[in-house]
């Protein structure tokens, strides 16, 4: 099991398009992947779960993956979140 703490720095958090992109990437891995904030956790493969979590900019979250490709999953998802942040910052 691999877990990584991330602070969401892109301005819209995990809404709309970022959430959809995040879920699509998560679904491409076999591992069970969760997004955790405080006491709550949501499946990273569920668009409904992530949207209903209302995860916003500045939230401290953890991504936890458990399975054969857990490290690749964590790397890909943290890279995606970083790319949201860069695209925000580039402007």
């Amino acid at each position: 099991m691999v877990e990584k703490q991330v602070i969401l720095r892109n301005a819209s958090g995990l809404h709309a398009r970022p959430a959809a992109e995040f879920v699509k990437i998560a679904q491409s891995f076999e591992s069970d992947i969760k997004v955790i904030r405080g006491e709550s956790e949501w499946s990273a493969k569920s668009i409904l779960a992530l949207l209903s979590g209302g995860i916003s900019a500045g939230d401290e979250i953890a991504i936890r993956a458990d399975g054969a490709d857990e490290q690749q999953a964590i790397d890909a998802l943290t890279a995606l979140l970083a790319s949201f942040e860069e695209q925000d910052g580039a402007q």
Partner: protein
Amino acid sequence: MSHVDVTIEGIAVSPGIGIGQACVLSTPDIDTGQGRMLSASVPAAGRHTARNVDAELARIEEAVTQAIADLQALRAQTEARLGANEAAIFDAHRMMLEDPEFRSAIDARIREEGAGAEAAVQNTADQYIALFDAIDDEYLKARAGDVRDIASRLLRLLTSGAQDTAVLPNQVTHPLFGQTILIAEELSPSDTVSLDPVNVAGIATVRGGATSHAAILAKSLGIPAIAGAADLLQQARFEDTVIIDGDAGIAILRPSPETTALYENRQEEQRRILRELESQKGQPSVTLDGCAIELFGNIGSPSDVQAVLENGGEGVGLFRTEFLFMERSRPPTEDEQYDAYRQVAEAFGEKPVTVRTLDAGGDKELPYLDLPTEDNPFLGLRAIRLCLAHPNLFETQIRAILRAGVHGNLRMMLPMINTVDEVRQAKAIIDKVKGDLKRDGVSFCADVPLGIMIETPAAALHADALAEEVEFFSIGTNDLIQYTLACDRGNPDTASLYTPYHPAVLSLISASIQSANRAGIPVGLCGEAASDEKLIPVFLAIGIDSLSMAAGFIPRTRAAIRRSRCEQPEGYIEALLQLPDAAAVEMYLEM
């Protein structure tokens, strides 16, 4: 029949007049006691505790598979019929239907609670709807409507057999039923896109507004629609006659023969104008006494260009660039913006295209700017104020506009200007961007004309000084009315105060036009008043040069101009501005 001519005030959602027989899609409570039915068109779904678990799971599997196939077909049809943006609505639905958690929650209810397939879908959807409804975020709240749509799609398949793709009861779309007015709690995007304007004369819903997915689709289909019609849903009975006035945002239930005749005349008039317009296509907008007026279209993206050209628009008077910035997780890049502006510039060639710089804030939030919540967003950091406070955002847009300027006849327009200083600050930024572009060796147009919107009382009263600073004016009537009369037209309690006929509003418009005329700069008018046939002769008499409006209004406005004169008897405008109130102005204009 009792209670004739019951007028129900709602919100205008899609323009036009529709007259027909009510088809009330009721929303009965379901027998699981979990609240309301998800969709009007779904038969009651009960709890089926005695069912075989495997059989129920198989029914879900079959319904989901069929629903995904139906959505794919609907997406393709929508793309062909209305366009890619409208079609993308159904991609989001598909993603929700394929959501593994949604599915496992449904399956768990069948396995562990012995629920029937229908109840399992209903309860799972209700749980997500409640979650979304509870979030303090308009975007996420609106997703509840999408969950309702996919759930009712599944329920329809479960209750009517897997092959049934009919979205609405047959009588609604059956030609023999005649012209129908659909009345429902809410119409989903799927329901709306499947409607045939030949059979459906109008739509009235309780929920929804002008910006819902369903409203966008109704406008694209040309079906008149109103929202906020709770009273109509309660009072209308099957086959009652109903008039939907999508221009005024009202419905009239059980109209008297006189009222019906009045609206039939208006409808006939609208149709006559449309025919007249067809025949006048390509003819200039010239008054009976020879004044030529330019008629422009308002657009929000390059995909709106076609409609402006088809309706004979002589350019774009208002390119609302904020739509390029909305519903995104980050701002559009310079190149993305450049592509959009270039496409529009090229489509119009020599004809002018007025690009309004970002008009966000107010009711148009940009989530990625992470702006603090304001007590009075319309009096807060919006439009030019927002751009001056975020110079990077502003500079990127100006670079894109100046670069696209080499591909056509672009003009740049600043929204919500109040002071000369704001114009000078913007000009300093524009000059800096020009210097950067020159230094970088990027090709750009150095003489894109700069203009401003006149949309506050301050700008209108101060227009002489502002006219010294810029090359054109455009009077934005929607905001000017709201700020002059201090009323929010989205608020049902103050909407009736909102009127372009108030003498104060007309005085400010008149002052702005006169300032521009004195300074020798062109002045246009955009906003809904630009296509108001009663006001057009007034604008002409004061000295307006151009009018800009939604593409669909251009033909009828051209016809109105061709019936009008720009010369009025001496003292006509002065007398108008002295009238006591809006009602008196309307009467005066009808004389």
